[in-house]
Structure formats: C-alpha cells, structure tokens
Amino acid sequence: MSLQPFGSFVSPWREMDRLRREMNRLFADLPASAGTAVPGYPAMNVWTNENGAVITAELPGVATEEIDISVVGDTLTLSGTRQPTELPENAVAHRRERGAGRFSRVFRLPFPIESDKVEAAFENGVLSVALPRPESDKPRKIAIKAG
C-alpha cells in the first residue's frame, strides 16, 4: 500500500518498481533454461570475427564417422546419428535419459564460406567447425584521401 504521510515525496513509479521487483523475484526461482526454445539437436554456439566463423556443438558419445558436415555456399549442415546405450542381455534399465537417433541442423551464415578451407575438430565430445571466409569477401579497409 502506498499510503504516505502528507508532505513526503512519492514517486509515481514506486508501485511499478515494486511490481517489477516482485515479478523478477518470481521468475528468478524458475530454472534459467525454462522457456528458451532450442531449434533442434545439437545445441550450437557460433563465434565470429571478420575472417570467418567457428561453430561449436556438444555431441558427447557420437563417433566421428557418424557425423556429417557439409558446406554449400553460406550454409552449414550438421547431421549424424547418436547410438543408444547398448544394454547387455538380461539387464534392467533404471534410467534412460540419454536420447538417441538421427539429428540434422542447418545453419546459414551471413557470409559465404570457403569450403576448401573448412576444418573440423572433435575433442572430448565437443565438435568445433572452423569456417573461413574467402579472401574476396573479407571486409576491406578503405583509405580516406586527404584533400
């Protein structure tokens, strides 16, 4: 309630501020990942600079021969298969949280990719794909002539 003694300065935003803080507190209790939709598996991060991009993805347990990386123009397609955990005979499963199956993601970059120089590395379950830009497409510095 905003009953204030007469004479003190009451900010009209005080109620709004209080409401905002309460809403923040309400949403802070939810796990941070609730509501963010990831458009498919695997989740990917994209790092860029003026020379190109590097795309990283977490693919634990996927064999490198089961990952397909193809580059066409400015589009990267990452697909493959993740094998399910093999259960020996007469084993009883307590939990099955790791998904398995085919995955495919298409990523379009804002610049063309030099497909000859694409390199990919897979370490500890993290795939890194380096996508350089062709020389002709790199930004050029334009000199300003004096006078």
Partner: protein, 135 residues
C-alpha cells in the same frame, strides 16, 4: 526408432537447482544426463559430460551415495566474438544413491568423447545359505 530425429529437450542441459548444500564456486553447474542399467553382477552408469576428460572428473562413493563431479574449462576462442549461443558451459554434478551394496575396490570408470562409463560391481553376499535336510 533410430530414424526419429532427436527430441528438442535433449539439446538443453539442465541446471542443478541449488538446494541445501550450495557449491562453493559461483560457477554454472549442470546435471549430466545418465543411463543406468543393472545386470546380475553389476550396475553401470553412462553419463554425458561433454568437455570433460579423465583428469577433470571426480567420482566418489560414500556409503551408498555415488557422486559424480566434472569440471569444464569454458571454451573461449580468442580473436572471436560469441555471436550466437544456444548452450552454456559449466561444471557437472550429480549424486545417486545406490541401493545394492557395491564392492568399492572393483569400481572402474572410463571417459571417452565426453561420455563417462562407470562400472560398479555388486559386492558378493557375505551371508551363507544353510540348507536344511530332513532327518
């Protein structure tokens, strides 16, 4: 079944909910997804911990509680800017209470391609069954 595309939930890692015992480091921590199965003589845990190698994972068995802790140095590419991120990196932590008695000496753990495999052999029963004959 192998032709189905992966579910969307799989791509998101689940953060741990800080309950009673908080972590000392103020770093992000995730709950690794795990498959657990039991055979006649062992329990096997297979968990996804991408970014972890054999030196950065700690496994302890304390009474009946198995703790898995994995440490990941966040990957930072120098000279590059992170333009778009769908996942974050952080440590992994998960605890399981193991119902059977486990033979602590025979636990084996391997890490390959970010997947931890824990082989927990069950302890041999120490009680002896006594047969009853008539007469």
């Amino acid at each position: 079944m192998a032709n189905e595309t992966m579910e969307v939930q799989e791509a998101q890692k689940q953060e741990i909910a800080e309950s009673d015992a908080e972590r000392t480091r103020q770093r992000l921590a995730f709950v690794p997804r795990a498959d657990i199965y039991e055979t006649d003589d062992s329990i096997v845990v297979v968990a996804d911990l991408p970014g972890v190698d054999e030196g950065s994972v700690d496994i302890t068995l304390d009474n009946d509680v198995l703790s898995i802790e994995g440490h990941v140095e966040p990957q930072v590419l120098e000279d590059y800017c992170l333009a778009y991120a769908e996942y974050r990196q952080g440590d992994y932590q998960r605890k399981f209470s193991i119902s059977n008695k486990i033979d602590g000496e025979g636990i084996e753990a391997t890490v390959k391609d970010g997947v931890l495999r824990l082989f927990l052999p069950k302890a041999k029963p120490t009680s002896r069954k006594i047969s009853v004959t008539s007469g």
